[in-house]
Symmetry: C2
Subunit: 182 residues, 2 copies
Amino acid sequence: MSLRHAMLGLLAERPASGYDLMKRFETSLTNVWPATQSQVYGELGKLAKTGLLEVVAEGPRGRKEYAITAEGRAELRHWLAETRPERSHRNEALLRVFFLDLLTPLEAVAYLATEAERAAELRAELEQVGEKVDWDDGPLSVNGRLALEYGLRLRAMQEEWARWAAEQLGGAGAAESEAGKS
Amino acid sequence: MSLRHAMLGLLAERPASGYDLMKRFETSLTNVWPATQSQVYGELGKLAKTGLLEVVAEGPRGRKEYAITAEGRAELRHWLAETRPERSHRNEALLRVFFLDLLTPLEAVAYLATEAERAAELRAELEQVGEKVDWDDGPLSVNGRLALEYGLRLRAMQEEWARWAAEQLGGAGAAESEAGKS
DNA sequence: GTTGACATGTAATACGTTACATGATTCG
DNA sequence: CGAATCATGTAACGTATTACATGTCAAC
């Protein structure tokens, strides 16, 4: 149930409307906790009803600005300081690895090579993000820098692993390919 | 919808009952694609109804042994060879990093230190798994070795990152702590 | 006046978790 | 005969995705 905490966290910095929050989910949080518009509006309603948020202003076009309450801050702190994060970690790309023997060796190597390339691409995208962000833009950007570094290291690791794994199979793949030729 | 493909993949090796599959989810696949008993039985029913699986034997205690059909193999191959894995990647531990400024510097550093320790623990657990597995036990164990290496590298990366991140904040935390003392 | 950004919501569907519910067989 | 394991299923609830549905305001 971390969507709730993501929203409380964003609102802890400053009040915002559902629309505002959506934009922040799409930018900074998109890589760690994606959320859809439906989810955000739905959860705003629930959080307001349970007193963790309150509507502090209404603007044009039915705009409702929400702010975190003392109770909301308490819940957020509790989550941050007194609970351990879940590490469920479903990983479709890795699931496929378990079944790679159902492909030909060449196909399997190709899969791993594509994974390596994709990791490199994602890494490059993150580097772009890093260059665009204003690092003097408050605490969220300081923390964002830490999260960004995690992403860079993760993608680097994934690329290296995929190349290593391809090599592990590559022996077999290459051998079979060579055998086919001779 | 990868639960379905995980099940097809396991059944591609050999036929099994829901109960058998559960055990395999709890051991080899638990780290990449956890599944509950409810899910497994539910999905078995759906897969049989759509013709991707069939019941090939009935045993004591109502045991039903399922085998993958030609259609099921086709679907599995299609998934493996012709679709790209999803990389949605919700990460609660990293979400918290964005809000670390809501804790005191010392609390934040403590959070990262705990994360580093947890990563080290998980890495040690994986090493244990690696020592117990019979690596000459068919294709699934060959692939499992690749997946295991991914896990080892991931945990090592996480530990290093968390220590690095703690150091980044640690300057501030230590300085404030020192300031408080003086 | 029309396009684009702002702004909020609901409905249908699927996926996942927990708890409930039941019973058969084997082994000591 | 009692405990452990084998074995299957349903129900309730919560979370997530997609699509639908509506309407306002500002700027050109």
